[in-house]
């Protein structure tokens, strides 16, 4: 455990996690709307936004899957110290974190049960860029239509077809975050 493990959490958890949650709530309630998150300094390769999302939403009661480069000793140690989430394989995860490529195939993740669709995974997808250019999003939370630089469309269309089951996504890039719940319809431009 190095010194970095002990740092990079919230300095004032009750206030910072409340502020972060409001941004995440807005992101999930308004798919495609890009919000800013601050207050954490997680170890590489995690973005600040991904670190803040983990600190805000996960704890010892939420099994977590780290995919690809995110599954490294500094991140595991940081998670163990600040969050205490049990690290699990993809199918058992309530939350998963990694790049879109590392999370493949996303069909591994829990999509809930027909009578309990809430028992599904939330994917925190690390992105190289996050802008409002890309596939078209429509559905609850969107007044007419919006656009987001999604890594693809097919997987999200397949996920939408499972509704009300399905996984939900948070896209993170630097200090930016956007949400894509299962309810959103995605169409290529």
């Amino acid at each position: 455990m190095n010194t970095h493990t002990l740092s990079g959490g919230f300095a004032d958890a009750p206030i910072q996690s409340a502020q972060a949650f409001r941004a995440i709530l807005d992101a999930m309630a308004r798919p495609g709307k890009i919000m800013a998150l601050h207050g954490a300094a997680p170890p590489a390769p995690l973005s600040m936004a991904a670190g803040v999302a983990l600190l805000t939403l996960t704890d010892a009661t939420t099994p977590l899957h780290l995919a690809g480069a995110a599954d490294c000793a500094p991140v595991r140690d940081w998670v163990a110290f600040h969050i205490g989430a049990r690290l699990v394989k993809a199918g058992d995860a309530a939350f998963a974190l990694g790049t879109w490529a590392a999370l493949q195939p996303v069909t591994r993740f829990a999509t809930g049960l027909p009578d309990y669709p809430d028992r599904s995974a939330t994917l925190i997808v690390e992105m190289d860029r996050l802008t409002n250019h890309g596939p078209t999003l429509t559905g609850p939370g969107i007044e007419t239509a919006t656009w987001l630089s999604l890594p693809e469309t097919a997987a999200f269309r397949a996920n939408r077809a499972l509704f009300p089951m399905g996984f939900d996504c948070l896209f993170t890039c630097g200090s930016r975050i956007a949400g894509l719940p299962r309810s959103t319809k995605v169409e290529a431009l």
Binding site: A18, F21, D115, G139
Partner: protein
Amino acid sequence: MNDATPEPAYNFAYLDEQTKRMIRRAILKGIAVPGYQVPFASREMPMPYGWGTGGVQVTAACLVPEDRLKVIDQGADDTTNAVSIRRFFARTAGVATTTRTADATLIQTRHRIPETPLHAGQILVYQVPIPEPLRFLEPRETETRKMHELEEYGLMHVKLYEDIARHGQIATSYAYPVKVSGRYVMDPSPIPKFDNPKLSDSPAIQLFGAGREQRIYALPPYTKVVSLDFDDHPFTASKAAHVCDLCGARASYLDEVITDDLGGRMFVCSDTDFCTDRQAHGKRGRLSAPISGGAA
């Protein structure tokens, strides 16, 4: 306005961080599946079950220090339970409070949606007593859960149809069931059906908390919410056929106030902020004091 100084003995917004995270996760799943009731491990709060513990927990999980909180019960800011809940958050979260709908960033409500249209920066939190719209048709949770799974809402339509057969119209005047985004039938909490149209396509986030029944559900902004009806008996948002006796409003929901024991009564807006604001702008009703030179 600020009701009191925050109490350092409790965590920000009363609940511990782990509880808030649990509630926040439930809220996000509720947002992702509009109208679906997400089970959550409701905690005992310092106010009784049935008095808004679900709404209070949702509010506690959402509040930030920068918020301006408005709490209404029956549309009024000064009803005793609204006063009590507003004070609770002023004490435990130190947030500013307001009675003005337009200025509030988070509004907790019992039984009404404000008349003033909500905007995108706002969250409306409803207190919900019985979240299950099918509960009075089928008391068993194990059964109603299956009905939601299978989208088997025939029982609800039968109930509404029986109303029509018996009374010539649908005899549900509040907690009128709605269908959300074409999927889940949802209880909008015991708001008068007059308020139902405001549920749909709102720019604000709407969150519903049922503490005793351990359920949270949500409507993201701009979600289609349709009141259940029949082609030959379309839904109508009704109210008393009067105007407000204090501000003259024609299109607001009215309370009937008995003024004597000889049948005397007056009708006033149930939304006290809406009514006060109209009066401040010179609007007058049948029983208003005449406008004097100075302040009213």
